[in-house]
Amino acid sequence: MNQLNEFFRQLLFLPTQASQWSRELDYLHYFVFVTAMLGAWTTLATATVFVFRYRRKTAEQSTPIVDPKPIHEVVFIGLPLVLFLAYFAVGYPQYVRLQTPPKGAMDVYVQGKKWMWKFAFPGGPNSTDVLRVPAGRPVRLLLTSRDVIHSFYVPALRMKQDALPGRYTQIWFNADRPGRYPIFCAEYCGLGHSSMLGELVVMPAEEWDVWMEQQRRGSQPLAQDGQPTAAEEPDLRGSLVDQGRRIAAVQGCFKCHTVDGTQHIGPTWLDLSGRTVKLEGGKTVVADEAYLTRSMMEPNAEIVAGYKDKAVMPTYQGKLSAPDAAAITEFIKSLRTDAPTAEPQKGPIYVPVTGK
């Protein structure tokens, strides 16, 4: 059974199966694949045999009128109908199971925004792009979005759910194989759609408990970002830009800086690199690599005009290694748009109409 599963999984280029649900979904996939292939090739082979058997001999050859008997059409209708309904009979209950979280599942709030995933455990901690869950325990995700529709997709779990702005959708999973699995955004959401990547880290349950304990020990667990465990190796996959994004996420940069042009607590990073920035006091400076690095290490030395009252950024001297700072700089440099209007995008605001 296991070998058969592995054979088909690799034949169909499917990713690892990280949950029981994904395994069962794959069994249905194999069943559909095999029966559909059999049906298709039987039909095509029949057609091919006819083509060779009944070649035209003379240009104006006459052929008999062949009309179907009722039984023919009954078979033509009946066979596929039975097969298709069988697919549905297996597939729909599976779907219902995915949509119905079990009692006692742990809740995680997921917020999509351009272009990152934010996760929050009730009672803390929060995190950006990296979701840590215990293996073997059911987790319910409550998804929402800050701007447009995103879709939370973990191929290893064969699971996908749209995150809608201003409301919640839900889905659940029970990952049983520890490991690190990519999270994609599957609903087109603009410039950074394809870099809206995240990571699902499935930890052995005991390890996760310890980690959670550590995270909540701080004074303000709700405001705190989840940190990687000490034993974990830094993730060095991807380009420098990808790494920069990951480091920025872990360091909590996105709490104040946006990457889509929206103004937030700090200046946006979109189109920042290379721009001439006006500083408090009237001076200007070109936002080159040196300026960006200086701003990380001594954020209050050169305050951008208009941010005097909001100059709350702590220094990252000592928290960021030189390669990390360089990676973040590269990431900022990659954030460009050639949007035809200069006006930054105003995301929808989610305050109710008060009728004033």
Binding site: P352, V353, T354, G355, K356
Partner: protein, 215 residues
């Protein structure tokens, strides 16, 4: 009555065998066109049904701001104009072109009345700030679903009003042709088709009135 294609040879297009087929085709085309109009409104009705289902209180309160007296008057006006159009078709088939002109003129007058009343209503809503979506700024009522009601109110009545205007244009053209005495037992298709269009406008208003003003 029998077909007399020879009496009006100029009206028969080359690709039709006879007048009766041609007229049948024209009427069928008109009906199909009306069905596209119904489906066009269906989108707004769907949005209305959904948001009414989601925000019953907001919609109920907002619909109290609608001007029922004017709406009811408009209903009477439109239904009566439907009667005059039906009679116009009747007399067009009999070839009594002068009656047709008179009835159509009355119909167009009803159309003008409808549009004027509608304009007065719009003006009141405009002055009070009872406007769609982000433009809504009426202090007297706020809450979920209220501005949605006005978005749908303006879209539905606006689209309907546009149809009334088009219908008035069509009827004026037909009235002009009737003035030249073109219609008779053998040829009344333009009156019938524009009449169908006018009746559809009435038919849609029959649904719009209770949905937007009364519920």
């Amino acid at each position: 009555m029998h077909t007399d294609a020879a009496a009006a040879p100029s009206r028969l297009a080359h690709h039709f065998p006879d007048m009766k087929t041609q007229e049948h085709a024209a009427r069928m085309g008109m009906w199909l066109f009306l069905s596209t109009e119904i489906l066009l409104f269906a989108v707004l009705f769907t949005a209305y049904a959904l948001y009414r289902f989601l925000f019953p209180v907001g919609f109920e309160e907002a619909s109290r701001l609608a001007h029922v007296a004017m709406g009811a008057t408009n209903t009477v006006v439109l239904i009566t104009s439907s009667l005059t159009v039906a009679l116009a078709i009747h007399y067009a088939r009999l070839g009594e072109n002068r009656k047709v002109v008179g009835l159509l003129a009355v119909t167009i007058l009803f159309g003008v009345t409808f549009m004027v009343l509608k304009g007065v209503e719009y003006h009141h809503h405009w002055v009070d700030g009872q406007l769609p979506g982000r433009m809504y700024h009426f202090a007297g009522l706020s809450g979920p679903g209220v501005s949605m009601y006005f978005a749908l109110y303006f879209l539905m009545t606006g689209l309907h009003g546009l149809h009334v205007l088009i219908g008035m244009g069509l009827l004026s053209w037909v009235a002009f042709r009737a003035m030249r005495g073109e219609f008779g037992p053998n040829y009344s298709t333009p009156v019938e088709l524009s009449g169908l269009y006018w009746h559809l406008i009435d038919l849609i208003w029959i649904f719009l009135f209770p949905l937007l003003y009364l519920l």
